[in-house]
Symmetry: C2
Subunit: 215 residues, 2 copies
């Protein structure tokens, strides 16, 4: 008689898979991918290490899945911040601020998602997600050009430049060696980091310097 | 009697090491790190595969060394372009253009240096080299603020934003899937890609829109 998976078994397996993903995410949020060993993940998910490999063909495949889920969450937050009826520049500024604030509030996971050297599998996901961010920005820039709240420009290129600028400018501050300087600090202190980033991006977008005294 | 390395043997070893590095660089320039297998490298360097591992502890260590040498060359080109007596904005614009033009002229190696998913060892080098680029830009921005050719700004953050913007905006065009659209083309066609990138960067730097009709 062929082996038949019962409904109960299927649900139990799905629950174990979910626990493994959550445990990995938790480990990454605490110490990056570098600290998320399979034995630690298994212990935290309360499964045998062999069980992890029954659900994911390799540690890299597990990491890629965790990366995807966590980054999709961040892309969704940016999409949310871009929505609204205001002119495009206001929506874009809100989204860029949201990205930076969220990163500084969860610096370990943000570093892991943005820059931690991991595995080519994760790097490939990273490239795809950079495109997903740029796609969201591009739509808002197109809106801005159409409604003339932004000057004519190549929306595609502006969008990828924005993604590069904001991600790169946070790599240093989020890196394990520097992170303590900016996180766990008063919100006002985070602003000394975020304001110049936003200013850079908005000047590039709008071609206007705004308040140049605000350094 | 203890084994003594003669001068001749030392030179022969150094020459083999150099050939291995050059062969690897050549393979990467042709098809990226992904195509540079140790057996191909050994064949091209005219050594046994075992010899490669006597010089480099692993493929990743070899790749990291090749990455370092090739990227240092690019950083030197940017440093060269930043030198001169002109006001800082002109020097920065020249350096950004140099970076983009060099990338589009050698798209395979540029993609490998900027974005190809490789190995954590190479990723770590990449992060360090991003800092090296930013350091060069920062000095020119500081000059510009001092000589008032640039408005007051956080030079550190502007510099990292510039590195992020120019690198990210080239990732798509250099990627294997899109590369043919921009390379091997007339120079004029490359300009349709480069101009909006330079414009983004210069607007962000100077807070001035310049010629907004130039889309």
């Amino acid at each position: 008689m062929p082996y038949r998976e019962t409904e109960k078994m299927r649900r139990r397996k799905a629950a174990a898979r979910q626990r493994i993903l959550e445990a990995t995410r938790h480990c990454v949020a605490e110490g990056g991918f570098g600290q998320a060993t399979i034995s630690r993940v298994a212990r935290e998910a309360d499964v045998a290490t062999g069980t992890v490999y029954r659900h994911f063909e390799s540690k890299e495949a597990l990491f890629a899945e965790v990366f995807r889920q966590a980054t999709q969450r961040e892309v969704d937050k940016v999409t949310e911040a871009l929505a609204g009826d205001e002119p495009a520049p206001a929506r874009l500024e809100r989204a860029l601020r949201r990205f930076a604030h969220r990163a500084l509030r969860g610096p370990t996971i943000a570093w892991s998602l943005i820059a931690e050297p991991v595995d080519p599998k994760v790097e490939r996901e990273r490239l795809q997600y950079r495109e997903a961010y740029a796609f969201q920005f591009r739509q808002a820039i197109d809106d801005g050009i159409r409604e003339t709240s932004l000057p004519p420009q190549n929306a595609d290129i502006t969008a990828t430049c924005l993604v590069g600028a904001i991600a790169e400018s946070l790599v240093g501050p989020l890196a394990p060696a520097h992170r303590d300087r900016y996180t766990g600090l008063e919100n006002a202190q985070q602003e000394t980091l975020i304001e110049p980033i936003i200013r850079f991006c908005m000047q590039a977008l709008t071609g206007r310097g705004g308040d140049n005294e605000r350094t």
